[in-house]
């Protein structure tokens, strides 16, 4: 080895080795450790040495009704949030590709909610929706839509709906940015040609813009699926009842909150670790399906 390559070798080592060790110890090792724990019946409430029980935690979860209630609720949040977000962000992206004075300012302001701490967003909307003094009540009253104040968050059946509204508010800026970039990559002459051929705005949108936007939409749906499946902060301050160690409101308990409860309140470490891996597989599964479809589409066209 000559002097120069040896120096390079030291240079690379000094920079990369600490990072490899850090990531190895603080990400891979605990991930592996959790996987092993998920095969044991470790429970810190009960003083007993953890026993290896193979896949019993997984089967216990899959057989429990609470797991399915919580999973169904999480999927409900996803199913309600995704179309809402897509609708708002697609509309905004189409609006903001038009050229008009003040567009840059609108773009900047629209993105703000996404950059704020989600924990603040949960509180913010909780206050907005407050039944006694809330601004939404005030607004609707003044506009004549309601005669008396409504306690929006009281009803357990509709709490999940509000969770999706706040999640949408927190996240819609990201899809808007991606779709805006997608729209800008559509060649202008294609749209001009459509206009010359006498296509209506709707036809242009339906037959040219939407198909070309499909890859961006797929990206958006994948990422927003993972984000809303793992919703946590927003619920914590909006409806969870939000104090560490305290009871978690069962009507808005989603997968992540359930997982937090199992591990850090009930101290059922084995079961919680198993759940965390189920969540991981669920997110990964969907991500892979979306990405392969996206890939196929890209190859075909």
């Amino acid at each position: 080895m000559n002097r120069e390559t040896r120096q390079d070798f030291v240079f690379i080592g000094v920079i990369l080795v600490p990072l490899i060790i850090l990531v190895g110890i603080l990400i891979y090792l605990p991930a592996l450790d959790s996987l092993l724990t998920s095969f044991t019946n470790e429970n810190l409430r009960i003083l007993r040495p953890p026993k290896f029980i193979w896949l019993k935690n997984y089967s216990k979860l899959i057989e429990s009704s609470e797991f399915w209630t919580v999973t169904a609720r999480s999927l409900l949040v996803v199913v309600l949030t995704l179309p809402l977000e897509l609708f708002i962000s697609l509309g905004l992206a189409l609006l903001l590709t038009e050229a008009f004075p003040g567009r840059a300012m609108v773009r900047t302001l629209i993105i703000l909610p996404w950059m704020l701490p989600p924990i603040v967003n949960g509180f913010l909307w909780g206050w907005l929706l407050n039944g006694e003094y809330g601004a939404l009540n005030g607004l609707l009253y003044q506009l004549g839509f309601i005669d008396e104040y409504v306690t929006w968050l009281k009803n357990p059946d509709t709490q999940v709906l509000w969770v999706t509204v706040v999640q949408t508010w927190t996240r819609f800026a990201f899809p808007t940015i991606i779709l805006l970039a997608g729209l800008q990559s559509i060649p202008m002459d294609l749209l001009d040609a459509a206009k010359v051929d006498g296509a209506s705005s709707w036809q242009t949108f339906r037959n040219i813009i939407l198909p070309l936007l499909m890859p961006s939409i797929a990206v958006v749906l994948t990422i927003e699926f993972i984000a809303s499946l793992q919703i946590f902060d927003v619920i914590w301050t909006l409806t969870a009842g939000g104090s560490a160690g305290g009871a978690i409101n069962p009507f808005t308990k989603t997968l992540m909150l359930y997982n937090y409860e199992l591990v850090f309140r009930d101290l059922r470490i084995g079961l919680g670790a198993a759940l965390s891996y189920l969540i991981l597989f669920l997110s990964l599964g969907v991500a892979i399906v979306f990405v392969t479809r996206l890939y196929n589409q890209a190859v075909k066209t």
């Binding site: 603080l26 914590w236 670790a273 991981l280």
Partner: protein
């Protein structure tokens, strides 16, 4: 007036109308929380007609919050004295220090991946990146016990360490793509002149990738500032609780009065708000890549 001019005008009006609705949706809630924090009690709790513009703005809620602590919804002073100060200090310290570390570590690593050829490069890059899109929840459970055993639970250095590790993949990714776009001729000339790799990094790469480094720094700062899950799990006393946790305590445990809560929320979101307002062009790319988190 020609018909085409007319159509143009109608379109403009429609656009501005839609923009107004969009802004009401995006900014309205933020506006209201700010108004709530500076309103007098009388106006804030007025029903059924709210006062949308405070007639006599007051900073009382902020003063109360930082001196002696916020009030209970019932009226008495709640045991929150000093929590805002400690939260603000912890969040500032942890976010700035970890963002600085992430920026330098990932610029160095980004340079290595962008410019140097060595065996195992692809594998190491993959190893460092793999966890970026995955939910870190699977690591966190076991990590909690590791960090406890290491005595780093409820310490600022523990928080900084965790944030550095969780932000590194994104930082390295951003910096390696950024450095790849720099013209390599300058570096080649410097190497011919006998510059060592470290000198190269210090005198050529850092100055040339200033805007990339700024982006990584700001994205990291914002991510740490906004994060709630990590401080929730890894801290438990005011010595290291960060602002997001303090805010959650105000909402859940201490039942702080609404106007004081609003002030606390404004304090918690003001830095991200200002950074997002003034440095947005630095943020978009990094935030888009790190969007999953």
């Amino acid at each position: 007036m020609t018909p085409s001019f007319n159509r143009h005008l109608i379109k403009r009006i429609c656009i501005y109308l839609l923009c107004a609705i969009a802004l009401l949706w995006a900014i309205g809630p933020i506006y209201w929380i700010f108004v709530s924090s500076v309103s007098t009690r009388m106006e804030l709790y007025a029903t059924p007609i709210k006062s949308w513009f405070p007639s006599e703005p007051t900073w009382e809620a902020y003063i109360r919050l930082f001196q002696g602590g916020g009030q209970y919804r019932g009226g008495n002073v709640s045991p929150t004295e000093g929590l805002m100060w400690s939260g603000l200090y912890n969040t500032l310290f942890v976010s700035i220090v970890s963002a600085l570390f992430v920026t330098f570590l990932s610029t160095n690593a980004g340079y290595v991946f962008a410019r140097m050829k060595f065996r195992g490069r692809g594998f190491i890059f993959f190893f460092l990146m793999l966890m970026m899109p995955l939910p870190l929840w699977v690591s966190i459970i076991a990590l909690f016990f590791m960090i406890s055993n290491a005595g780093l639970i409820d310490t600022l250095s523990g928080m900084i360490l965790l944030f550095i590790v969780f932000l590194l993949p994104l930082g390295i990714w951003l910096m390696s793509t950024f450095i790849r776009e720099i013209n390599p001729e300058i570096e080649e000339a410097a190497i011919v002149d006998g510059c060592s790799r470290w000198q190269l990094l210090r005198w050529i790469i850092y100055p040339l990738s200033k805007s990339g480094m700024a982006a990584v720094f700001l994205v990291s700062l914002l991510t740490v500032w906004n994060n709630f899950l990590l401080p929730l799990i890894f801290t438990r006393s005011p010595d290291s609780q960060m602002l997001t946790v303090v805010l959650s305590l105000f909402v859940g445990q201490y039942e702080v009065a609404w106007e004081d809560m609003a002030a606390a929320a404004v304090v918690t979101m003001l830095p991200p708000f200002l950074i997002a307002l003034f440095f947005q062009r630095f943020l978009i790319r990094g935030m888009t890549l790190g969007a999953v988190k």
